[in-house]
Amino acid sequence: MAEYKLMKGNEVIAEAAIRCGCDGYFGYPITPQSEIMETLMLRKPWEETGMVVLQAESEVAAINMVYGGAACGKKVMTSSSSPGISLKQEGITYIAGAELPCLIVNVVRGGPGLGTIQPAQSDYFQSVKGGGHGDYHLIVLAPASVQEMNDFVELGFNLAFKYRNPVLILSDGVIGQMMEKVQLSEIKPRWTDAEIEKISGTWATTGKKSNRDYHVITSLELDSLRQEKFNHKLIEKYKVIKENEVRFETFQCDDADYVLVAYGSSSRICQKAVEIARAKGVKVGLLRPITLYPFPTKKINEMCSKAKGFLSVEMSAGQMVEDVRLAVNGKVPVEHFGRLGGVVTTPNEVVKALDELIKKGK
């Protein structure tokens, strides 16, 4: 078993990328995620695995580099924080429209605008509902620990290639800046040309071989009927993803009268809140969505038969709560609680909000 290391979430993203055989990282500095590119530049993976690391002139250029690399069948990624992710949306919708696999990391900070540099979860809508123009979805993974920052890099690439769809790791300043103990993955070599041919040979632009027609990576379709057909193809893909890729974790939910729903760093805070509330005799549990798209709708709906109410806790003005309400579909009360603008919610505040929900129900 690999030894434990003490590392920052951001550093782990970089290390995990190298170890899972990532071919290219293209980034642009922005707080609180600059350690990702800094770690890569310090590590010089181009000497070790041949991985390309490039500081682009802008977030816009970086995501378009990802487009170019992904179109070659390579494992490529970028990372940024909220304002930079907004800039990347153009490229992300092109990537989704061209059905390219790639990994995007968002270490979220408070917004809107330039906002704060402190942790927030206010990019939920942007992450799970599309983000750029057009009908599309990213697969969204929400790590709640430094260990998951490691694990989700490889998982993210696997899902990206399985579905030819961009995958987003939605982290935040807490998980990015925090150090925890972590077991890094084993080092895997990058894919060879032959492996890329086997995995992505039907579409990747690796140079037209004499035995095949030429490949075109594009998101352009001038014929509306054909575009509609393509839109339906995407809808079908998302349906398969919803059926197969929902991931979540429950904590003390078995006998719970009330359920907190929280992802990422908020789920850690809520775990503490559960401990505090349980000590006071309140039967409360925590549902932590690990995938935010696809969302654990079915699970939440099932929990309605036992639970008397849900409290959605996120560091936003109330975004995920809409998906919780859709899942609950009016069966029991659903409330939202969260601090904003980079202020991190405290466990005691969550317990207080829970008390209010319970009072309301009585």
Partner: protein, 253 residues
Amino acid sequence: MAEVKDIIKEGNLVYKKSKVLTDKIMHYCPGCSHGVVHKILAEVIEELNIQEDTIGVSPVGCSVLAYNYLHIDWQQAAHGRAPAVATAVARLLPNKRVFAYQGDGDLASIGTAEIIHACNRGENIVVIFINNGIYGMTGGQMAPTTLEGMPTSTSPYGRDIAMTGHPLKITELIAQLPAVNFVTRQAVHTPAAVRKCKKALQKAFENIGEKKGTQFIEVVSTCNSGWKLSPVKSNEWMVENMFPVYPMGDIKG
């Protein structure tokens, strides 16, 4: 008199369409320079025998559909981003020959940052820059390279430099960058010009084969529909008005 079947034979062949060109009918307007540039690009790829090694990146603009016409692997980039896309392809597939094909709105307006920085890094790519001083695809709006006083649909009284700045000589700017290896300005309005332009393309594709860094070829072009002139008049107007601002010839390398 000889029979037709006796005339049609290999030895009498004076012109043949490059096998790198597809059979699709081009959507370009009659008289547009894109068709000619596509043709010589296909010929260069065929003659250098690099069809399997060439990856093209098409822009947003009239040549967005360039991928319909050349039998090579293509990526279609977002508006202005072709140099960034090509950067990644060239770095991840260093033995391939990668080119970005861009118009003046794409390269010199929305994609200014991407082209300057790709050239400044000396990316091992060929950039083909079609400059006709107008946005063709969207219906003839003013471009950064539109001449002073030139009427377009968004400068209907002629480009007012006090309001919108000067025609941007981005090729001269790019020639200043140390990592750029070859910069030239060509045209395709006469057979002689076509031959010269083809030679420049050939040199550029040979140079990236030798990993010499960025190759930048501007082709001063016509847009007879946008300019609202006949193809012949467009060529005359280009020589008379465009060439003094965008003079022909090699600038570097």
